[in-house]
Amino acid sequence: MRDFYGVTLKTPLMLGTAQYPSPAIMGEAFKASGAGIATVSLRREAGGERAGQAFWELIASLGTLVLPNTAGCYTVKEAITTAHMAREVFDTNWIKLEVIGDADTLQPDVYGLVEAARILTEEGFEVFPYTTEDLIVCERLVSAGCRVLMPWGSPIGSGLGLNNEYGLKTLRARFPEIPLVVDAGIGAPSHAAKAMELGFDAVLLNTAVAKAGDPVAMACAFAQAVEAGAAAHTADLMEPRDMATPSTPVLGKAFLE
């Protein structure tokens, strides 16, 4: 099994911490789903506010690994400074690198992304780049030192699933050694299962769980779906056939007409 910078995941599920109805529900979603990695972020805090403190204690209580992101950064400079602040606050070399190129689609700026990935790698970070499914971009990221790739399925928060299955398949075929995570756009467990059936190593979710009618139950549903997809990939799926064949051997059928 492919490892994430030396860490083997307990489960192929990574879960975001934003947009839940309440911190308690968020905590439940993690406990119930067994998600092994929680993505977190940073924001400005006023003196005496201590909101970050409270959130931090909640996260610490989850017993998951923490993956800080650089959400909302539009430049290499912002992303790098944010990464440094995150490393100090969260005490980890892991960084989910987001260099956003567009405020509507929130898609990666693949130019800033590769540059930031190279710099951060040189500075000792272990980079989880949020990228498109572009093979060439992914090769650049690997050359820059990334040992994990996190292509989007579709735009963040869209829930559209896997917009370019062909592109994701190509990545799996071309990076047999690199852990691949579908990050963003997954809206239903069937999408997550499909990603794992393609041979991906994990799925990173947030909106589909946090905005579900019942986030805790939905988190569990996704946990099962990713394990189902992973198991199916290992167990070797049947090839679809254009010709139908009987499930019941016709040999020895009684003659009754």
Binding site: V40, R44, G47, R50, A51, G52, F55, I59, N69, E88
Partner: protein, 65 residues
């Protein structure tokens, strides 16, 4: 002197980042800091002098996707 703290004009007496954080009530809060868009690690807060007009950012953990 006058600095910009998280984008807000703020008057402080302190002359180092560390002192400013105390003065502003951050105390033991779990925070990270940047001055004029450069990260300043905890270890350098004492030795980081602030000047009039400096842009100081103080961030803390929050939810993220």
């Amino acid at each position: 002197m006058k600095i910009r703290l998280n984008g807000e004009a703020t008057e402080i007496a302190a002359v180092t980042l560390a002192a400013a954080l105390d003065e502003l009530g951050y105390g033991e809060a779990k925070i990270a800091t940047a001055v004029n868009e450069d990260f300043v690690p905890v270890s350098q807060r004492e030795s980081t002098a602030l000047a009039d007009g400096d842009r100081v950012e103080v961030v803390a953990p929050m939810q993220g996707g």
